[in-house]
Symmetry: C2
Subunit: 343 residues, 2 copies
DNA sequence: CTGAAAGCGCTTACAG
DNA sequence: CTGAAAGCGCTTACAG
């Protein structure tokens, strides 16, 4: 079998002895075709292993059934779970989902948006905190605006500021505040916070919510007690280790994400400290794995799957007025064995 | 600002006062253009927020910088890690990666392949065990053959049989055998195995390798000792629970994937059994999280990231003779605290 | 119900 | 170096 290019509609039409138009209609069912001819077309298409060229089709005006999802890192359970929700709804609507990871590189994010825009994807979903960076915000706006004007649909999760698009916003600030309250109720008064890069709005919101609630209770949180690390398991490990070498005096550590909390738990274990006997640890997100840790992690549970479902639904429902629609989703404090009462 | 369609090359050319050809060349740098004109084109493109239509471009013959990756479930850490490797290499080669999840539905897999083929993606990578199903094999072959003949590149991880394409194959059978040997060395003689659907080749290979090695040592593995569940954390939980209700008499449980092992650990904990004091547990894959479990999981470590890197490299390097190239990757037994010696 | 033809937005020989 | 024109593979009014 020698290499030969893809069969085209013209090949099919010729083999079936009909016109291009008839072949197209028979294949797509967009207009009635006499059964006799239809069968011949289908037969020929089968023989030739014909697949329509999606580019030609899109160019000619047929609409696209593909939606693009851009997140920081698909291998992070947070994004993987949100993406799962997106895919569930997409599937119900007969859409194909293509995922991309930016690894938190603003340039790469722009590159993916540009590709998706160039491909005229039916929708673009941006998942995950934006960057507090005016240049990037402007560039993104420049990409998105013409895309939307051209009929593209955009929705975001966890991202706001400059972007005037439909959004699903987890209540990071309120959730972190509720967590602070819960931990205060357990009797803790000396806290440490493990945080990701401050330029991520999610990080900023969670730290602020946590701190505000402590302040309200008259409990101080010094600058030294807030340690910044990468937004990953290893970042949590490093930040916790840093805290430990400086001499930990907190009775409770709050990590701004579960993923970082997992790293913190490992660092504590490696230092011979036991959780929660020696230190309590709490996270944020409620990614699936935290239930299976020993001890299971106390956290602010976000309906991750739903975050994705809602975003996809927003992108799917017409928005004639083009007013920004916002869905806020609350988090709920779930106390598990990683946090204990202070005697 | 009223909705208006995307600006086209023609808009840019007109605004710059040049021909279509000149505008194209200025934008792509495919041929020299006098700086004077080039600047006017770039200026106009910027003003109009011009993005080339990828479909038109692909149709006109420009090559595509997109590769499609199809796996069972991106939210499974195994696939997420392999995908990470793919993206690393893709990034070095200036390629964009689009991921898709089939959720182990053969139909959906075919649908994604068909889309990617229709989009004339530069390469298609299939990650994860195939199905032992002649109809599906034939259908997949029918999709892939014309794609390859048309210049498309295909590589697979963990999949073989009917597909005559470049492949990266983890040594599942040998790895499972090595694990059996290691567990026998710890003194275990009564085993149970937690397995996924037998129609997945990976599952079949791992169970066979494990069983063969036991047989060689004269240790029996009865049909009842092999319990099948879904290929997920919950599947592992259910299978382990099943075993427990029937009265577990094994001293060691081998799960064919780490993900299932995590479910098994949870089931044991919920039954008040302690690992490894009461039962030893071992998995397969060495996904990142297992190091952070308590106890850390004994497993067969596969170089997951490399699996992806190799597959991407195979797809990227020319294969003039079109002979099938196969990279085998060995697994290595890593003993951690979830398995103990039998006194 | 069917076909000839225009057009979608680009790229690239082919002349100049 | 620049432009007019053909062509990539489809879809869809427009006639019949």
């Amino acid at each position: 079998m020698q290499p030969r290019p893809h069969a085209t509609l013209e090949d099919v039409a010729r083999a079936a002895g009909v016109s291009l138009a008839t072949a197209s209609r028979a294949l797509n069912g967009t207009a009635p075709v006499r059964p006799h001819l239809r069968d011949r077309v289908l037969e020929a298409a089968g023989q030739l292993a014909y697949t329509p060229n999606a580019h030609a089709r899109a160019l000619a005006g047929a609409s696209h059934r593909t939606v693009g999802v851009i997140c920081h890192d698909v291998s992070d359970p947070y994004f993987a779970t949100v993406a799962g929700g997106i895919m569930r709804v997409a599937d119900d609507n007969d859409l194909l989902v293509m995922l991309a990871s930016t690894f938190r590189d603003p340039e790469r994010e722009l590159a993916y948006v540009s590709i998706l825009r160039a491909e005229r994807a039916a929708a673009i979903l941006l998942i995950g905190s934006g960057f507090e960076n005016p240049d990037w915000e402007r560039a993104l706006h420049t990409e998105l605006e013409p895309y939307i004007n051209g009929g593209g649909r955009v929705a975001v999760v966890s991202r706001h500021r400059s972007l005037r698009v439909d959004a699903v916003l987890p209540e990071n600030r309120a959730g972190a505040a509720a967590m602070a309250r819960a931990l205060l109720d357990l009797g803790h008064r000396r806290f440490a916070v493990l945080t990701g890069p401050r330029t991520l709005t999610t990080v900023a919101d969670r730290v602020a919510g946590f701190r505000d609630e402590l302040t309200r209770a008259g409990v101080p949180l010094h600058t030294d007690d807030v340690v910044e690390g990468a937004f990953t398991r290893d970042g949590g490990y490093a930040a916790m280790t840093d805290l430990l070498t400086r001499g930990l005096d907190a009775t409770c550590v709050f990590a701004v994400t579960d993923v970082m909390a997992i790293g913190a738990l490992a660092a504590l274990r490696d230092h011979g400290l036991s959780v929660p006997a020696d230190v309590s640890v709490a996270g944020f997100d409620d990614i699936p794995i935290v239930r299976d840790l020993t001890p299971p992690l106390t956290t602010v549970a976000l309906p991750l799957q739903q975050l994705g479902e809602r975003a996809m639904q927003l992108a799917l429902t017409e928005n004639p007025g083009r007013r920004r629609r916002i869905h806020r989703m609350a988090g709920e404090v779930v106390l598990r064995a990683s946090t204990a009462k202070v005697p």
